[in-house]
Symmetry: C2
Subunit: 321 residues, 2 copies
């Protein structure tokens, strides 16, 4: 961080140039089932099919590449128990750096195993505060660069390329929906969408059980969530100063999603769309499935942000239905 200038549409375009040929141009699917549910026309950008199973690879790869061009380093360090960790692990391997991944508990064993497949160094810590300290130590010890999961101009620009691609394929979208955790994807979505068409309405989708972004946007300062006991583990984080600023300028509104809506949305994605998505992604489908009035009659683009979930976790979640 330390840099208060915000990324722009131009940065997203630069990121798209660099990522061309590195990221998969993920498919966009229609769904007559979703169309009927919201009375609009829905398109889904399948970032669950991105390399590492989530959009996070975009920002991770772009950030490592960009920082390399600014200051030399010998390793990449991050603090993430989620999909950003996998993104950094693959990006570092492709770019030839060792990676040190600090994971604060609770760690999802499936995601941890996926990270370890890349042969990186994983360190588990009990708290985020402990993790921040360890990450700084690793940066100093290994001449590393720290890549924040979302509050980083390059990461945000990288994530925005998903929406740039989406709008290149479906230029006439009226609305873009994405899950809202730290706000990296959604900030990138805002820059990309409004760079192409300022009339597109960009909405965040936030779990009621990790409700901090909506409140932070209302108050104009970063608030911590009161609870983080949502199954949408990727959305438990609060905003950063960069994502708060961008979202304040661009975001239309936040749809709050109840916990009970998440599993039915996952099930719908499985059975109707044949797509494996994780709970955080299902949060962005929930407003469509409940027929949110703002979506009625609109051309709605939704980002299926990730699909990193084990079958055994899926089945134990479904068992609770």
């Amino acid at each position: 961080m330390g840099d208060n200038s915000l990324p722009t549409f131009f940065h997203v375009q630069q990121a798209a140039n660099l990522l061309n040929g590195v990221v998969y141009p993920t498919p966009v699917l229609g769904s007559s089932y979703l169309d009927e549910q919201c009375g609009g026309c829905v398109f889904a950008k399948c970032e669950n099919l991105q390399r590492t199973g989530a959009f996070k690879f975009r920002g991770a790869y772009y950030a490592v590449s960009r920082k390399e061009a600014v200051t030399p380093f010998k390793a990449v360090v991050t603090l993430s128990s989620g999909n950003h960790a996998q993104g950094i692990a693959l990006a570092s391997r492709l770019l030839g750096y060792p990676a040190y991944i600090v994971m604060p508990d609770p760690v999802n064993p499936f995601k941890r195993a996926k990270v370890e497949e890349f042969g990186v160094n994983v360190r588990i810590v009990r708290t985020r505060a402990e993790g921040e300290e360890l990450a700084q130590e690793l940066v100093h010890a290994h001449q590393g660069v720290f890549i924040h999961p979302f509050n980083d101009c390059d990461v945000i620009a990288g994530q925005g390329t998903a929406i740039l691609e989406f709008l290149q394929e479906v230029p006439q979208l009226d609305v873009v929906l994405a899950p809202l955790g730290g706000g990296g994807l959604l900030s990138g979505a805002c820059l990309a969408a409004h760079g192409l068409n300022p009339l597109i309405r960009v909405y965040g989708c936030e779990p009621a059980r990790a409700l901090d972004a909506l409140l932070s946007l209302r108050e104009g300062r970063i608030l911590m969530p009161h609870t983080v006991d949502t199954m949408a583990e990727g959305l438990r984080t609060s905003l950063g100063n960069l994502t708060l600023s961008i979202l304040q300028d661009h975001l239309q509104d936040v749809f709050v999603v109840e916990e009970e809506e998440i599993i039915p949305a996952m099930k719908m994605a499985f059975e109707q769309m044949k797509m494996v998505i994780e709970p955080s992604s299902a949060v962005a489908l929930a407003p469509i499935l409940r027929g949110e009035p703002a979506l009625c009659g609109k051309r709605v683009g939704v980002v299926l942000s990730g699909g990193n979930i084990s079958m055994s976790d899926v089945c134990s979640m479904m068992g609770g239905m």
Copy 2:
């Protein structure tokens, strides 16, 4: 049937022209995981993302359209408990005909519900013989046309369009793999692949527990399977005279897949590819996952043929692992 002339590559091209704009041009995905497993380069054609969740819609729509051009009829009749039934149901609705679907037991409740969503007439019968009789009655009673699930030139030509699209997107495939039940998809695959490049090797993938096609091809006559207790319910049927002839001319070989290979292949598709596939589709992934020597070093195209399975069925299957 009644027509002993076989379909050709030209018929597949005609079908592709008619189906253009009607079928989804389904995405082709790579998978570094599959590449590693077979030591080749694997591409998956995602027909589980086709309308109705399976390639069957292609042949169904093309057959109804073609027969309409030959002899007038007032209804469409078929005999199928599986994905062909859904294909006929949607095709009939789109083309403005009532449809009568005869389903021999055992009927998968998920597939039945999907068929009934299209508002067609479903009749359940105890045996296939009883179903054939009822289907003929319905044809006479409603001035209907009967569309066979696979032993029909138009159906075969329609299914072939999936492989035509596949090879237009990835022209350099060495090998094409598809599941082998009645042989409609595989016959279409042979015509399409060898029409474009006679050197492509086309393989069928057949469950050991419904092993009739391999034996029929060896003997040169249609044999019934000794057992049909495979979970790959779409592959329990035997060949027809048209599919037998085409496969005898074109098929490289048949990979026999053991029952124990099916669930791990489904799990792999879910966890690595984020794709929901049904057991019949998983049969075509199994030879890749076991590192079948004929695939080593090759550019392998595999058809993910369908994804019509409920989450509860998936989870009860996974529970048995």
